[in-house]
């Protein structure tokens, strides 16, 4: 009986490790093969090289001269720059908007609360493509030129919801009596907000901001529809590259992106664990 039990629990552990192998093997594969020098078949290991990294940083070398794979490093840099500008701006706006609505819904009495809750819930139940086409139709009908501004607006529409949800969860955990105490002690609304409410919701605000930064950097579907020719973001650029054919440089770009997102995610989760 005991042997059976041990067997059963070790079967579960073995399954668990398989599960993580399934989740991480594809990612590790990209990292490993980004150092593979074989330009013809990326999946047959030839020898270690940093050539693909050199290519994306604009350095020429033997393999890149024999076959110039990357269309243009300038385009890549422009895409990275666009992505960063969009993600930073969007994060700023969406964080302010999302936090404002979350505070209003949680701390004030007014009639339209149900409407705001439903509004914030809508992007969650809508497939990205629906919002993407709606925004495309809208921008074209009002005659707006598709650019990084349309992308920023588009990202803000749904990222406000993400911030709202994260901040609302934080407010729900908060002790409301502290704000009352502050008011009882004679602080006015603004002082209470600045000295009591804001510091307490700050972890939620930062969490929401990090989340919206990551999602904005990564968004492909909505951006794909509302990006102009000169305003490609990094995911849209890579998507275009992939559709034209698989090239070894993509491994290197992907590895760098991987590193970047793991760093940001780790910062976020580290901050959360320190709070607890």
């Amino acid at each position: 009986m005991k042997i059976l039990k041990v067997l059963r629990s070790s079967a579960l552990s073995i399954y668990g490790y398989f599960f993580f192998a399934f989740v991480y093997a594809p990612i590790l594969l990209i990292v490993v093969f980004s150092f593979n020098s074989n330009p013809v078949n990326m999946m047959i290991w030839e020898s270690f090289t940093l050539d693909w990294y050199k290519t994306i940083f604009g350095m020429t070398n033997a393999s890149s001269e024999s076959a110039l794979y990357l269309d243009s490093t300038d385009q890549l840099y422009a895409a990275v720059q666009n992505s960063l500008v969009i993600a930073l701006t969007t994060t700023l706006i969406a964080t302010v908007f999302g936090t404002s609505i979350a505070l209003a819904v949680a701390r004030f009495k007014f009639k339209l609360k149900g409407f705001y809750r439903a509004l914030m819930f809508m992007p969650m139940i809508m497939p990205d493509i629906v919002l993407g086409i709606a925004l495309l139709i809208f921008f074209v009908s009002i005659g707006a030129q598709l650019s990084i501004y349309t992308i920023i607006i588009g990202h803000c529409t749904f990222l406000t919801s993400y911030v709202f949800i994260v901040v609302s969860a934080r407010i729900a955990d908060m002790d409301e009596t502290l704000e009352e105490a502050s008011a009882d002690l004679g602080a006015n609304g603004w002082t209470t907000f600045r000295r009591v409410t804001l510091p307490m919701i700050m972890p939620g605000v930062i969490g929401g901001a990090l989340l919206s930064f990551i999602i904005s950097m990564d968004d492909l579907v909505i951006t794909y529809f509302i990006a102009g020719v000169d305003s490609q973001t990094l995911p849209v650029f890579i998507y275009g590259m992939l559709r034209r054919g698989i090239k070894p440089e993509i491994n290197a770009i992907a590895t760098i992106m991987l590193l970047f997102s793991i760093i940001i995610a780790s910062i976020g989760l580290y901050m959360r664990s320190r709070r607890n």
Partner: protein, 308 residues
């Protein structure tokens, strides 16, 4: 009296300050665009892209089965693609469920430090760029990809398997991408499981299967349903996964919509297709809410509680 009145005024001004800017923004850039899309789906497509402002129900007719042969043909292929998308999305949901359930159970039994580490490891891929994760599967599943190289290297097969550009590839890709979506809600309800209930169930003579079916499954049902919905919605409207892993051979409704907007330039028809996807999701959500409120009522009935 006066001071409390100014206080009320002040709070009203604060409330307006908080609400007006985001409300205006979302009204103009979220509600108006969605409304325009709904209107577009009932307008006549122009000859060279664009629309003619006439009421026109044949965008839906082309999809659902009525059509005036002078203008538009009903083509069952659209419904077929829709149902195929539903099938692929449902398969993805089921596989995600089967893959995540045991893993969530495994992690829920760990010590706290280990638990946090493994939860971090499960959530991490969510932060890794979607396109990077899908690219990995392109590399794995291609005819000259990792899987075929490995299988041929070990002599299991002599010719490369054609996996990419099939339904299987699309399902694998979507499962991989949506695993974190399924895992977290499942884990939340599995973690809340009261282990003493399982013990008492077996003490009372239930077999393991009975305990699972009568105790574990009903108690984790909210997580199962929640996770399934969170996976189903983005899977149904997906077009990135089928376009990278399904190629031209596996068309989902998302690809059809993309084509209407970016190559066929029939925006009203594309909007109608988008509305069909939304309608399917709304039906599902209404059903879900109804079921949840019924569960709630049942849980509150005293007779059930006594039995428990």
């Amino acid at each position: 009296m006066i001071s409390s009145k100014t206080n009320v005024d002040r709070r009203r001004i604060m409330l307006l300050g908080l609400l007006v800017p985001p409300t205006l923004f979302l009204l103009v850039f979220f509600i108006v665009p969605l409304t325009i899309m709904v209107i577009y789906s009932w307008l006549e497509p122009g000859l060279y892209g664009g629309v003619v402002w006439n009421f026109y129900d044949l965008n839906y007719g082309r999809i659902l089965g009525w059509a005036d042969s002078r203008y538009e043909k009903f083509d069952p292929v659209y419904l077929a693609i829709f149902f195929k998308s539903v099938r692929l999305a449902l398969t993805t949901v089921l596989i995600c469920l089967f893959v995540c359930y045991p893993a969530a159970f495994w992690i829920s039994k760990m010590s706290d430090t280990k638990k946090n580490l493994f939860l971090f490891l499960v959530t991490l891929p969510f932060f890794v760029s979607l396109i990077v994760r899908l690219f990995a599967w392109v590399l794995i599943l291609r005819p000259t990809g990792f899987l075929n190289q490995a299988l041929m290297g070990t002599g299991l097969i002599s010719e490369p398997l054609q996996i990419i550009f099939t339904d299987t590839a699309v399902i694998i890709g979507m499962t991989y991408v949506f695993i974190p979506f399924m895992f977290l809600p499942l884990y939340a309800s599995i973690e809340k499981l009261d282990m003493s209930l399982l013990e008492s169930s077996s003490d009372l003579g239930a077999t393991r299967l009975q305990t699972f079916r009568r105790v574990i499954l009903p108690l984790t049902l909210p997580g199962i349903i929640g996770g399934s919905i969170i996976v189903f919605i983005p899977a149904l409207g997906n077009f990135i996964v089928p376009s990278l892993l399904g190629g031209a051979k596996v068309l989902m409704i998302g690809n059809l919509i993309e084509q209407q907007f970016l190559s066929a330039r029939n925006w009203p028809f594309g909007s109608a297709l988008g509305m069909i996807v939304m309608a399917a999701i709304l039906v599902l959500l209404v059903y879900y809410v109804k079921m949840m409120t019924r569960e709630d009522r049942l849980a509150r009935t005293p007779s059930i509680k006594e039995v428990q």
